[in-house]
Subunit: 299 residues, 2 copies
């Protein structure tokens, strides 16, 4: 196996995880949690989303979260901004990094963002321009790269095309997302190989949900192609409202266990990560979905 | 990825799964379950273990199970036999295939079988001889190939050595087992490459527990080396009493989902497999640990 020597783990649980949780977590607890994550050595922590409260009540406190976390100098704290209004809110609150979102699926784009793929890309382009001008870090999600809950199969050619457009808009990092967790390793490699025809591999991240239990195997197959940026969520928090099953993102603890075993450097401390997971699971009153966390809590 | 065109799935839940379940399943339900499994297209179903009832009360009905299932002509139904006495019992009940068990770890061998590795191999050799003479199919488990709950790390050289000895005793199939699920893909490949120096790859099977969520990624890394026999357990039933955490074997449904996605033939019908999983989970009064089963049950 040819694998990268170092992987950058992007922790998405404060946004992609919490946005799907019914139990309302207090702003104070979110801030404590995010600070536990950054102090566990995670280099990137997506902290919230600037969306209207009526869409995602859990993240209504986004401005306060952006303002109140204790930022570490080398950690990047992206804020998801679904549109220009969200971008302005994030900027006003003091965000120094943002994530935008486009889709490889017309059906998903319509249902999730009420626009066509092309219109979504145009919105992204405007935000990317403004963000880069202001000196913000930017990452761009591309949803449904391995399947769509509405349109089913998405062709590799379509994914390649939309990813290339997003990259041409100046997006410095493209996050290839398996929004509903339907992918398997062969499809993952075929999709990434197609995308990598026009985008350098070091600009690509993967964001895989674990709905069908495939996420870690899919990540391994992405690492084998040289992908070195991987999204994950402590305790496997989250889940897509459009995906069947209860599963969220791949659990960061389980990802880290694999990377440690492969001698791939991450800078993340597993013990501190487990502490952060315990903290947020207590806040949510639920059991972790990380198998590593479950195994290591029973001695 | 270079992958096998066909994989033989060995279903171990009636033995390795049920032996760790506290809820006593009726003999009738076990027979119904095994028949559902064979009719789902599984080519090998390990049906029980001939152990004293005081060791494993759940499998005290082994003779009746061996005698009463409805055998399909092309399906192999191994019975685990930990010693010669168990082998005689299996033979008397009409078993046509057996599994023996050796260990790559002195500590595990002592605790689990009350003998040294060498003594365990000698026992295996006697059973293998008798079984082959009688025309039975035989597979040989090698436990703790990626770590031991007592001895910790087990060297690749030790695994290579013991596997080679088991093979030299005439064992036609060596089942490399991660008994406590601690392995990661790089270690899996290093171990298999070492073992494959002396044993043809087509004689090797893998049997991975999912304690740390690594099983499917580990299986993928084994497939990449050409391993084409994979053990798994419907609903992720089971778990080793010596392993931390609640996890059992890798779930057959999740394995099959990956193999289907990779266009690897198995002959197994996912729908029928899910039905079998629903049946046994109802008998046990518990929720499936297969993510595919969970995702596909919520429509």
């Amino acid at each position: 196996m040819q694998l990268p020597e170092r992987v950058r783990i992007v922790e998405v649980s404060p946004r992609d995880g919490l946005q799907n949780e019914v139990v309302q977590v207090s702003t104070e607890a979110k801030i404590t949690y995010i600070d536990l994550l950054s102090r566990a050595g995670l280099p990137v922590v997506e902290i919230t989303s600037c969306v209207p409260a009526k869409w995602v009540p859990q993240l209504a406190d986004h401005a306060e979260v952006i303002q109140s976390i204790s930022r570490l100098p080398h950690v990047i704290y992206p804020v998801l901004v679904p549109n220009s209004r969200g971008f302005e809110d994030a900027l006003a609150a003091g965000a120094s990094a943002v994530s935008v979102i486009a889709s490889a699926s017309e059906g998903f784009s319509k249902k999730n963002s009420n626009c066509t793929i092309a219109e979504g890309l145009e919105r992204c382009g405007e935000i990317i321009d403004r963000a880069l001008t202001k000196g913000l870090a930017v990452r761009g999600y591309l949803s449904c790269t391995l399947g769509c809950p509405y349109d089913g199969e998405i062709s590799v050619e379509k994914v390649r095309q939309v990813a290339a457009q997003l990259y041409q808009l100046g997006c410095p990092e493209i996050v290839l997302s398996d929004t509903i967790g339907v992918g398997t390793p062969g499809k993952v490699q075929a999709m990434i190989e197609a995308v990598a025809e026009t985008i350098p591999i070091e600009k690509l991240a993967v964001h895989f949900h674990d709905t069908y239990g495939q996420a870690l195997a899919n990540i391994l197959s992405a690492l084998e192609l040289g992908v070195a940026i991987v999204d994950s969520s402590v305790a496997g928090l989250g889940g897509c409202p459009y995906a069947r099953g209860a599963s969220g993102n791949v659990a960061t603890e389980d990802l880290l266990y694999m990377l440690n075993g492969l001698n791939i450097a991450t800078g993340v401390d597993l013990g501190k990560l487990l502490d952060a997971g315990n903290y947020i699971c207590q806040q949510l009153g639920r059991v972790s979905r990380s198998k590593v966390a479950l195994a290591m809590s029973e001695c």
